[in-house]
Symmetry: C2
Subunit: 334 residues, 2 copies
Amino acid sequence: MKYVTIIDIAKELGISKSTVSRALAGDCHNVNAETMRRIVETADRLGYQRNELAVNLRRQHTQTIGIIIPEVVTSFFMNFIEHAQRLLRKDGYRVIVAISNEDPAQEQENLRMLEQCRVDGILMSVCHHEANIESYQRMIRKGIPITFFDRAVEGVEASRVVVDDYIMSFLLVEALIRKGRRRIVHLAGPKHVRNAIARSQAYRDALRKFGMEADARYVVAGGLNAEEGAAAMRRFVEGGLPFDALFGFTEMATLGAKSLLQQLGYRIPDEVALCCMSGTTLCTLVHPEITAVEQPLSAMAEVACRLLIHQIEHPDAPKEEVVLRGDLRFRAST
Amino acid sequence: MKYVTIIDIAKELGISKSTVSRALAGDCHNVNAETMRRIVETADRLGYQRNELAVNLRRQHTQTIGIIIPEVVTSFFMNFIEHAQRLLRKDGYRVIVAISNEDPAQEQENLRMLEQCRVDGILMSVCHHEANIESYQRMIRKGIPITFFDRAVEGVEASRVVVDDYIMSFLLVEALIRKGRRRIVHLAGPKHVRNAIARSQAYRDALRKFGMEADARYVVAGGLNAEEGAAAMRRFVEGGLPFDALFGFTEMATLGAKSLLQQLGYRIPDEVALCCMSGTTLCTLVHPEITAVEQPLSAMAEVACRLLIHQIEHPDAPKEEVVLRGDLRFRAST
DNA sequence: AACGGTTGCGGGAACGGTTGCGAAAAAAGT
DNA sequence: ACTTTTTTCGCAACCGTTCCCGCAACCGTT
């Protein structure tokens, strides 16, 4: 089955493809109104759909931007994509998304794929805070601007929009302490993601502020999903140390831990208080609802898209960094 | 910034671009080993990346398939994408995803966009069981095969893979009845999605099997997300009718309802038993864990990809329908 | 009648690859 | 030494658009 092209339309009407092209581009300044009408009419009589491949090859840009996300276990990234897609569509951009699965090699492959497809720019959240820095720089040198969101990296000529993890984490832990909790378990994130480092640092600093020193035994690697979070929690509980609160690096791991604790009969928040960073509506669906810092999702998408488009349109403009404030929601779990 | 092309490589080495093209395509039968080596060497010295636009324009296919999903509130669809992407990548296909947001107009727009990008095939879950049938047919007539997954439609020349909603729903409701529940609320899905209809029918039939007639007041429109589910539940509770169980059309709406019930002080499962269709791991993260029928996610992705690729490679092969069995998991909520 | 300006359209060269065909050169067979 | 075959490569067409240029017709002005 062949697609119909502007040449087919031109032949049908006995005119040149140039005119058809102009008419379909809406160039009413250079084509007669009546000719225009006939072209448009036969175009959709024949079911013509412009071949974007040809268009993109000719113009030297594709009007598509790539989005690379590290994972899909959290609804955050998917929701980000949904927002970004709606925003970008308004500005005439298509979107192509690639999932890295927390694997730097796959991320690199995604980058290469997007370059081959000649995307005009990339919105990305990295899966490792330094593994692929070379690749990001190469991409930017080639003229493909990148805007990092949420999980950003240092030392790259790119705009970025992040959340103030440190401050919000600090506030969260501080709140736990003020409620009288003293033995706070920290479900930490993997050391290769920058946000995890900031959150853990905040945990330590908050304890120190109240004259406590962080006990390394209370900091456990919680992973990124529910299973890993539950497993980490189980190991800690079996270790036998007393505890009365939990500060989670991320939502799913925390929910996994919570689920386990409830299975083991712990009462929340009486025996153990719970809170975490990067919570979503999920935190309000479990019982009891969980105190969390929510990512400013739509603001982040809005800013990221704006920064990226600005970079595309002004390649030499200075890069910007926008720090958004998370939204601390106190709920029944603390 | 200009991309480097095969012509740049050819000039650099003083040979023709044909040879470069052949070398880079790995055609060792038609190019000298030494020449090949030099070409490959300068290619990555110059940082050459093939322009897929040009390739796709020349060959008349793009090696990319489009995935259209109706929403992102459920983790199901994004997990499907993740699986499908991994599978398709193995077969050399790129993926471009589009989100319809439960809006037929947007879905149609997505279809158009994918056609313009000349995808080789489409994997889709519809947002309305009949609104865009015309569009699907047009797409297929033009030679773009579609494979429907999960939310399929009737009367279109396309392969599809679905879950046996009716049977699984029936089993779920039957199980509630056998546990002695008699006043079962049904959080129904929107009437424009086929799966919702099947599930509601199963609810009525299961009741009838036990000599009960479905009371229309116990069937409430539950919507698709948590907020809508909670709102629907609130309306029902305020209606004052007695009830001892809830059968939800979908997970998020059910979780929303559950959350509300717990807020209102209902004890689960003692006072009201809960279960739903299309559950995911979320059902195991809430307390108590919820009995649900889980979609055979990876099997569905695997089958859908296989069916689509088969259609792409054999345009005239008969279309297939695969019905997968859901996985009923009894948990604490019943 | 000559002239400058506008309007409407066609010709054709790109964009960056792939690929069939043919030719030159090299190798092999007689 | 003369075919024949094989290897290796260049030429040119093609994919579907866009867009620059040029040409003709028509207009109003002097």
